[in-house]
Symmetry: none
Amino acid sequence: MRDSTSTRERIDRAALGLFVERGVAETSIRDIAQRAGIADGALYRHYRSKDELVWQLFSSRYLAFAETLDGLQLGQPTAERRLDAMVRGFCAFFDRDWELFAFLLIVQHGQLARLSEGARTPVDIVRAVVAAAMERGEVPARDADLAAAMVIGAVLQAATFKIYGRLPAPLGDYADELAAGCWRLLAGGKAAHSPSPERSRTP
Amino acid sequence: MRDSTSTRERIDRAALGLFVERGVAETSIRDIAQRAGIADGALYRHYRSKDELVWQLFSSRYLAFAETLDGLQLGQPTAERRLDAMVRGFCAFFDRDWELFAFLLIVQHGQLARLSEGARTPVDIVRAVVAAAMERGEVPARDADLAAAMVIGAVLQAATFKIYGRLPAPLGDYADELAAGCWRLLAGGKAAHSPSPERSRTP
Amino acid sequence: MRDSTSTRERIDRAALGLFVERGVAETSIRDIAQRAGIADGALYRHYRSKDELVWQLFSSRYLAFAETLDGLQLGQPTAERRLDAMVRGFCAFFDRDWELFAFLLIVQHGQLARLSEGARTPVDIVRAVVAAAMERGEVPARDADLAAAMVIGAVLQAATFKIYGRLPAPLGDYADELAAGCWRLLAGGKAAHSPSPERSRTP
Amino acid sequence: MRDSTSTRERIDRAALGLFVERGVAETSIRDIAQRAGIADGALYRHYRSKDELVWQLFSSRYLAFAETLDGLQLGQPTAERRLDAMVRGFCAFFDRDWELFAFLLIVQHGQLARLSEGARTPVDIVRAVVAAAMERGEVPARDADLAAAMVIGAVLQAATFKIYGRLPAPLGDYADELAAGCWRLLAGGKAAHSPSPERSRTP
DNA sequence: AATGAATGAGTGTTCATTCAT
DNA sequence: GATGAATGAACACTCATTCAT
């Protein structure tokens, strides 16, 4: 058990690293096994196929992060605090293991569709928080999905910038600004349930 | 030339469609040639390799979009109008050819690094607009890169939601809300950490 | 077409030879390609898989032989002559290409089950001739299936003996004796529709 | 010893069953071990390799059957009775354990060559009986090898028909007919080519 | 320009076999 | 004797690429 666990962890870490460095298709099972320090065949004791490996790696981490996010948000008294906790949590998560985040980012397309219907993803968590805030009147009522998309995108893109070297400091250093920005996005202005036909927003 | 152009266009369209439907690695040159209605070998008259095809497709479209974005923004008098024009332009671009956008989204990782140092990407355009707005005092001075990331992310994620079916209407229907949200994000508040819910559009 | 045909024939012959020499499982696609003088990949232009190759080789030859057998039998006036023609035909077939026969013998188990329900096999041809002979009273009425089995087995086993070196001369040299033996088997004695409970056949 | 024996028997039975169901090449050591209820490695306490297992299984059963056949024949006073005893014995053997017979049938090619020069096979037993009958004048003198082949083939093919479902009743129900047919084959006629239907059992 | 048969390196995967426990 | 994780040499098969036509 001891050995088996450590072997699997070595596989996971090796795969994660290679997937991020070269991409999934460009990484062979041989590459992963070599970096993990095992023979190719041994990998199949832990995952039934390369596809399985990618899928398990993605889904387990992706859904675990959703739970983490939910846990952070649950204890908070106000929508603003909930958002703040989630943003901060995300930044910490990212700074602790940016490689994992990069992996999730890279492989999401093609894996997302395989999630079971009822799976609670990070997206669902954020959307629920946003929708609740609107229902309770803590925030102007708008299209909850669109609002959730914007908040998620704002934070995610910051992380992406970080990965591509467009942001110098650890993501945690931007957490305040990110949380504040998201709050402005969400809480600012008047209600305007989109899509609405009225226009002209120029002051 | 007429024939050649049309063949190339068929290749491009076939490749684009297949890449989005199945992913790049899962699409073979044979698949593309077949859908384009030519023999496998013929494809090599137009692209020297599969990698080349992906790269050409990505870079030309990606950089062309940057120019489009820049053009839209150039004529506008204020930062808010510039942002509005870009958001609206993006939505129109997306609704006209969402497949192309999905392609750009999917292949960006792995292609982004190949862009030449001085290339003007959509990201650069947005960043420049945001930075200029801050310099001119049209918007509170904050970290321009972070602000640009958030704005870009907010809009991009809305498009991603649209692709995954999380938003029902055409993206254009959300353009107002998107532009307004981005403006709130950019222009709202004074300090980085604003714990108070009140805000005013212009400082 | 010229080239393609010859390539396929080279593949068939190489596969046949190797299957007989080493067995199907012991023969790799590489072995076949090498003996056929082509690259491994080229084989897949002619057969979609190794299984397909074995199956095509077996079924085409097996069913073609059934037709040959049927043709030989058709022109004959009496049951004895029909049997004689078939036995003689089989021996000629064997002596012309014993390797093909050995192949059919070796791979039959596992391939036989894949034949479509209505396929006319050599076994069906012989059985039909035997049954017709019984119906017309040319031969005592017995269990047609059993009688067909015995006739087929008698000839087949002679061929098998030949393959294993237990018979020195060409099979054709035994054709008279084989045909006569089969005829004795079929035509001799009184009718005794088996399975019947009565016993004791000792004189 | 008790336990070991039973383990080995379980291995043998598992292997036999799987070989017949799927074929030898399609059956892995893991499959066998699993069905036998042991770990893969444990199998190597009983057989040094998969090849060994197949070989031991084949040769022991094949040669044991030869002895059985010989024993059955030995006590009989006449050639006809000897043949009858052997046919009957074969049918009983088949009905008692058709899986074993199917195994012998399937793997014979490729194993037969490994038998030592002097090994007494079922074929040798039958041939000896046939040859002796000819020498003693109990049966017309013909090519003993060919005659033996025909007799063996006739019975074997009936068994094969049974395996493939072409014969409905237990093989034992056909024993009379089989023995009679073989005897006609052997004892009937005078010359190799007997165009006349009349015959007498003993010359 | 186009064709499509051919190439051959490389992939994911299997599986007989070993060996530390 | 038994276990089962690990090995590593195959294997079937794919596919980007070439090239004679």
